[in-house]
């Protein structure tokens, strides 16, 4: 069962919401509706589901309705229409008290400009959520300290927010959200106010934390790099509507329409980056020296599903799969040639990342980078995404 299920969720700001909704359904644009009724379309019939432990990124240009959508999820903004279900309970029709309990126990929010209480210390800020629940002083202090420890601010408990740098303040924001151990984290452009280096640190840190905590995270951003780095799935918004939902790869490879394509094109690195820049050193076995035993060992050591096979002078011969190798061993075969496969995709060093998308999409094994018949490197799916998200610096191009 999804943790969050949003169906047909709309928000129209203004007085004549009925009329605006009707015009919207008739296909009028956001601007036309504003002109005709004076109403602003915030979110237009959004539907999606978010699974437990997923990082769901909502991306879009300024004014596309991201903040509105995330605030509909905890009903900081009242929906005009539609449902928001959290663990099967519908927030949209819930009474105030139940809503408060959901906010206290199930979801926390991290804000773009941190929204820390300036007159409260770091610890007191972190305790806020527990304090309003009426948790005892010792218990909330303990939990808040744990949360601060988690974000690396254990020794700053008595400082005031104004004494901390932006990155540290947002860690407090994160700790405050984590302190009441919610199921769902709502993060509205949580890192947008930070400068690029700190921002990258925070993204990494969030991913590390996420590995430990396995929360369900709704992350808002207007930045494709950020979306690619941290999203398990990405939803793209335009003028209040969700225009595409998919994995980072799907969004990059198959943009649903021109809007998405434009967005993705901004990552023009995909044209600049070449195979050479993002390839990794391949794990190989030597067909002249090694048999199934060595191949299996290396496959196991590295946690692979297949391994490439070369000769003494690194000429690419093919690859063998883990299953084939272990079968061969059982049958006592000693030559890799018998189980060698050769249907791996080959590209040269100059192939652009953009072209790689299509090739890698339907390949079961990594793409090989070959020069004069010699294996120079391999490219796995993850390194394309990582390369795009990381800018130009890429790990492991030492082939």
């Amino acid at each position: 069962m999804p943790v969050i299920k949003v169906s047909n969720l709309s928000k129209i700001f203004g007085k004549k919401t009925k009329e605006a909704q009707r015009l919207l359904d008739e296909g009028y644009s956001k601007e036309e509706i504003l002109e005709k009724t004076g109403c602003t379309v915030g979110v237009n019939r959004a539907s999606f589901e978010v699974e437990e432990g997923e990082v769901f990124v909502i991306m879009g240009l300024s004014g596309s309705g991201k903040s509105t959508l995330v605030r509909l999820l905890n009903r900081l903004i009242e929906p005009t229409e539609g449902d928001v279900e959290i663990d099967g309970e519908n927030l949209a029709t819930m009474n105030k008290e139940d809503l408060r309990n959901i906010r206290r126990q199930k979801m926390s929010m991290v804000f773009q400009k941190f929204a820390l209480f300036p007159f409260r210390t770091v610890l007191e800020n972190t305790e806020f959520g527990l304090e309003v629940q009426g948790v005892s002083k010792e218990e909330r202090s303990e939990k808040a300290r744990e949360a601060l420890e988690l974000v690396g601010l254990g020794s700053f408990v008595d400082q005031l927010p104004s004494q901390l740098s932006g990155g540290m303040q947002q860690r407090v924001g994160l700790a405050r959200a984590l302190a009441n151990d919610p199921e769902v984290l709502l993060m509205d452009e949580a890192f947008s106010a930070l400068d690029p280096l700190i921002r990258k640190d925070m993204q990494d840190e969030l991913l590390d934390l996420q590995e430990k905590m396995q929360k369900t995270i709704i992350f808002i951003t207007h930045d494709l790099d950020e979306a690619l780095r941290i999203g398990d799935r990405i939803a793209l918004m335009k003028d209040g509507s969700i225009v595409q939902i998919g994995s980072p790869e799907e969004i990059l490879i198959n943009p649903a329409n021109d809007y998405v394509e434009k967005f993705v094109e901004d990552v023009d690195r995909s044209k600049v980056l070449t195979a050479e820049k993002i390839m990794k050193r391949p794990e190989t076995v030597n067909i002249d020296k090694h048999g199934p035993r060595v191949a299996l060992e290396r496959i196991r050591e590295q946690g692979l599903s297949s391994i490439f096979v070369t000769d003494r002078s690194r000429n690419l011969k093919g690859y063998v799969t883990a299953d084939d190798v272990s079968e061969a061993r059982k049958q006592g075969k000693s030559d890799l040639r018998e189980i060698l496969r050769t249907d791996m995709p080959k590209v040269d060093k100059e192939t652009s990342v953009h072209d790689l998308f299509d090739i890698i999409h339907d390949s079961p094994v990594p793409v090989t980078v070959v020069e004069d018949g010699k294996l120079r490197g391999i490219i796995v799916r993850g390194s394309i995404i990582a390369a795009l998200a990381n800018g130009s610096e890429v790990d492991g191009n030492d082939a």
Binding site: N74, R100, R104, F111, A115, F117, F119, V132, Q133, L186
Partner: protein, 297 residues
């Protein structure tokens, strides 16, 4: 034909206008009757306020006046020292100023004036802050209360001195009442402003963590608005101090009475001394309340 018709209607219009403006609408009588009605209906309230509350304030003022001046001055200087962040300007000014007033034989009057200001400001604040909160929470309340505040601040004081006397007789109590009317608006306005100024994100943060309305008010909004509210309180205190001369016209004892009697007898010297004493008190109270704000903000 057309022309004479127009002439006719115009003429009759003018005569009816004259008739209308010739007869005064009985606003004054209406107010008279209204005040009379209030006095009779709310007697159960005015009487005890006039007597019991009046006695209480006067006793308090007399108690203050009966304390040895040296001790009161010492306390004031110590308070000024600590509240001004252990600097010397304010305590020295307090010491010299109060000694001067004592030397001019105005000490007892000073204690009465101080009591009047203290009581009036206190009532203004405990009424004003909740009203300000109400205003900040409801735009309807704001729309209703704002013009009332304008009315209270711009209506000449002499106008409500009359009902003040009718309701509360003469003495300290009508003085407090007049001062309340005049001095309450700033604390109401500033409380409203302070709460409305709290950033939207902070309000959202407190909502998002599931704070109740009350928790939001006490844990977020009031602490955030504190500096602004304190500025309002400072103004309220200053305004109520500026009412002491007017309050003395309806029998409130204190420095105001000396100013008033000097005015009536055209004695520049004593008038100046009493006036100067009010200014000294004003400066001391102003700086102390301002520092109260800075100290904890």
């Amino acid at each position: 034909m057309m022309l004479s018709m127009t002439k006719f209607t115009l003429l009759s219009f003018i005569t009816s206008m004259e008739e209308f403006f010739g007869n005064t609408i009985p606003v004054a009588e209406g107010v008279d009757r209204f005040v009379e009605w209030i006095t009779e209906t709310f007697n159960w309230f005015f009487d005890p306020v006039k007597n019991d509350f009046g006695n209480l304030i006067e006793n308090f003022a007399e108690l203050l006046a009966s304390l040895p001046a040296s001790i009161v001055i010492l306390l004031a200087v110590v308070l000024a020292y600590f509240l001004s962040g252990r600097r010397f300007a304010l305590p020295v000014f307090t010491l010299v100023g109060l000694l001067f007033i004592y030397n001019q034989q105005l000490w007892e009057q000073l204690m009465f004036t101080f009591t009047l200001v203290l009581v009036a400001s206190f009532i203004s604040v405990i009424v004003g802050i909740p009203v300000g909160i109400l205003m900040s929470k409801s735009s309807l309340a704001e729309a209703i209360i704002k013009p009332i505040l304008d009315f209270m601040q711009t209506m000449p004081a002499f106008v409500y001195l009359i009902p003040a006397v009718v309701f509360f007789g003469i003495g300290m109590v009508p003085g407090v009442f007049a001062s309340f009317i005049f001095a309450t608006p700033p604390v109401v306005r500033f409380t409203n402003l302070g709460i409305r100024q709290v950033s939207k994100e902070l309000v959202e943060a407190s909502d998002a963590f599931g704070a109740t309305g009350k928790q939001k008010l006490f844990k977020v909004e009031l602490p955030m608005a504190k500096t602004t509210i304190m500025a309002g309180i400072n103004q309220t205190v200053m305004l109520s101090l500026s009412m002491v001369v007017i309050a003395s016209m309806i029998g409130a004892p204190g420095l105001g009475r000396d100013v008033l009697s000097a005015l009536q007898r055209a004695q520049e010297g004593p008038g100046f001394v009493a006036g100067l004493s009010i200014v000294i008190l004003a400066i001391i109270i102003d700086r102390i309340t301002q520092n109260l704000n800075k100290g904890k903000a």
